[in-house]
């Protein structure tokens, strides 16, 4: 009888080692984890062209052509004679988008404005990225202004997917077209 009682005394598993095991695993995952976030410029490619599909007609004034040539020069607009400094791209674009029909060479309204990006085979990648950065910057600033004047908060403070966010987004839709490569 006494012996049986002793066996029943401590049926629990010792829990003291659990902390050690957990620590070991914790240290492993701490070492393996990289918390750096991926950052970059997002873009939506156009779907693959179907055969003998005509491009939709677009008024010339609603399309801003940006050509980055092999020498790393940025040529904006239809004349494409004088290279534009990359730092100027943002200002020109904002002018183009917010024209609202005033200047006959610039866009009718922000909704119709299209930015067409053209590159050549030898275009340096970093110039292209700088140019794209400026284009994104132009839209970011315009959206920020719209959010600021309509709702009094910066654009990135508006909740993603909310009605206000969508409204500002629709005010200045990002229409960036990547031209078919020409040889």
């Amino acid at each position: 009888m006494i012996g049986k009682k002793r066996e029943r005394e401590d049926p629990e598993v010792g829990g003291a080692g659990m902390a050690d095991i957990a620590f070991l695993l914790l240290i492993f995952f701490l070492l393996v984890t990289t918390i750096d976030v991926d950052t970059g410029i997002g873009l939506q490619l156009p779907p693959a062209p179907e055969e003998d599909q005509e491009p939709p007609p677009i008024k010339k004034r609603n399309m801003m052509k940006i050509l980055v040539n092999a020498q790393g020069q940025v040529l904006m607009g239809t004349e494409e004679t004088q290279p534009t400094p990359v730092t100027q791209v943002k200002r020109n674009l904002k002018e183009f988008i917010t024209n609202r029909g005033q200047d006959p060479n610039l866009s009718d309204n922000p909704d119709k404005a299209i930015v067409s990006i053209q590159t050549q085979r030898d275009t340096p990648y970093n110039v292209y990225i700088n140019m794209l950065d400026e284009v994104m910057g132009a839209y970011a600033e315009l959206r920020n202004q719209a959010a600021q004047s309509n709702y009094g908060v910066p654009y990135d403070r508006l909740e993603e997917g909310s009605e206000r966010h969508e409204k500002v987004k629709d005010m200045y839709p990002k229409k960036i077209s990547i031209a078919e490569p020409n040889q």
Partner: protein, 149 residues
């Protein structure tokens, strides 16, 4: 007076440690969830371009990477510009289409992150983009680092 002092000295001075495993487990679970156990050995050299207006990719699991840059050769030498997907160098650009198409079927919300050496020329990217369009993976992201002014 002396009587009181003696009494207070008797109280236990240990910090209770019984909740420590819980705390550690919580941290453990956090790190387990955030860890992505996938490392790629880069066979091409990639120095990121820098930009100001960048966005974050929150869901790393959706991302598939394409590396473009000069191939690393033995003895710190750099070869011609090559494309690397996962762990292998791809010589034929048209292979990109099939690889990405398969990945897209596994993950319909796939984002293709292009990690390109900043001195590369754009022709290679144009080729890749054409292949991506054919494959139907239209969401891309040019990987850049934050520019510090």
């Amino acid at each position: 007076m002396g009587h009181f002092e003696k009494k207070s000295a008797k109280t236990s001075q240990d910090v209770p440690t019984s909740a420590m495993p819980d705390v550690v487990f919580m941290l453990l679970i956090f790190f387990m969830v955030t860890t992505v156990l996938r490392e790629v050995t880069l066979q091409v050299k990639v120095d990121f371009a820098k930009a100001e207006n960048i966005e974050k990719i929150e869901q790393k699991r959706l991302v598939s990477y394409i590396y473009v840059g000069p191939q690393k050769l033995s003895g710190n030498k750099l070869g011609p510009t090559k494309i690397q997907i996962d762990d292998s160098i791809i010589d034929d650009v048209s292979a990109v289409r099939n690889i990405m198409y398969d990945k897209l079927r596994e993950q319909p919300k796939l984002i293709v992150s292009l990690r390109v050496h900043d001195e590369a020329e754009f022709g290679k990217i144009t080729d890749i983009q054409e292949e991506l369009r054919e494959a139907g993976t239209l969401r891309i992201n040019y990987s850049t680092k934050q520019e510090v002014n």
